[in-house]
Symmetry: C2
Subunit: 178 residues, 2 copies
Amino acid sequence: MESQPTRAQRREATAEKILRAAQDEFGDRGVDGATIRGIARRAGVDPSLVLQHYGSKQALFELAVRPVDDLRDDDVSRHLAEVLDVRLRELPAPTRALMRSMLTSPDAAAVMREYLEDRAEVLAAASRQDDARLRAELIVAAILGVTIARHFLELPALTAADGDTAARILEPLYAGLR
Amino acid sequence: MESQPTRAQRREATAEKILRAAQDEFGDRGVDGATIRGIARRAGVDPSLVLQHYGSKQALFELAVRPVDDLRDDDVSRHLAEVLDVRLRELPAPTRALMRSMLTSPDAAAVMREYLEDRAEVLAAASRQDDARLRAELIVAAILGVTIARHFLELPALTAADGDTAARILEPLYAGLR
DNA sequence: GTCTATATACCGATAGAC
DNA sequence: GTCTATCGGTATATAGAC
């Protein structure tokens, strides 16, 4: 119907490129440190296009940090090994952007809190312990700390370790949940 | 020798007041979010006095986040209960300022890494396990995550819990270190 | 549709009046 | 010693030229 890629398609492709650049920039510098200009530079577009497409820096941030479902948490017994294997390797760009900003942006903190509460609820639901909810929150908090120590602080032994080894050491935390 | 409080004493008192205000401001907004003007407002002094006393925002930050020795970690067996009891209650102002900025400021991240490495080294030294260092780093990382979840994300069950209960649940982590 | 130019608002830091 | 005034820089966001 149209010659080559549609105008709408080209516009869509540019928007995608900007969003990915935003995730990288937010992931490296945090909400406050990131700039529209920096995002545009990464995407290879004009700065005004960024706001043309997404309205404001804040709106773009909220799209950029929408958590990805990279974990299948239906199998609780495999939860730890899986999550650690994922968290110790590479962090998805939206997750990295969210974590980088959660201590300085109330909005990012709220998104992270809801995400962790969801995961804690799933974990606690499988248990019959009366303190299951506290145990579950301690587990997700511990994994959060390990992820920060690995990707943002780079503690040496933790950075060198693989997911299975770390999972074996943290395993006892899950025993109390059964 | 001098009438009432010395000029030097008054100057010292003002400097102290500014430093405490800076710890609060950095603790609430992070390095980037904090402003010289905001610190001066909290301290009830003129903005120019802040730089008059401390030279630059960065120099003031480095003084403000100097970690406090609030933990006696010579007794490893009591380590967990003690640290959790402290970390779950109130966070010292310098610690709070350091944690708030560690994800967005490379300098703050470096200070936090060194602090955690020190603590991990002390913990690992008491063990004869060959993976003691990794176990110790996992422990300090977990405590870091719990502290963030409690004071910055405010996970509900964790916020309501007391140190002893949380320590009892996390206790198995230490068993593997012996 | 894309980019240039700019309005508006803070910031850190400095110089100098009092 | 303390504060006023300001410099120079950078940010978001907008309006209009092309």
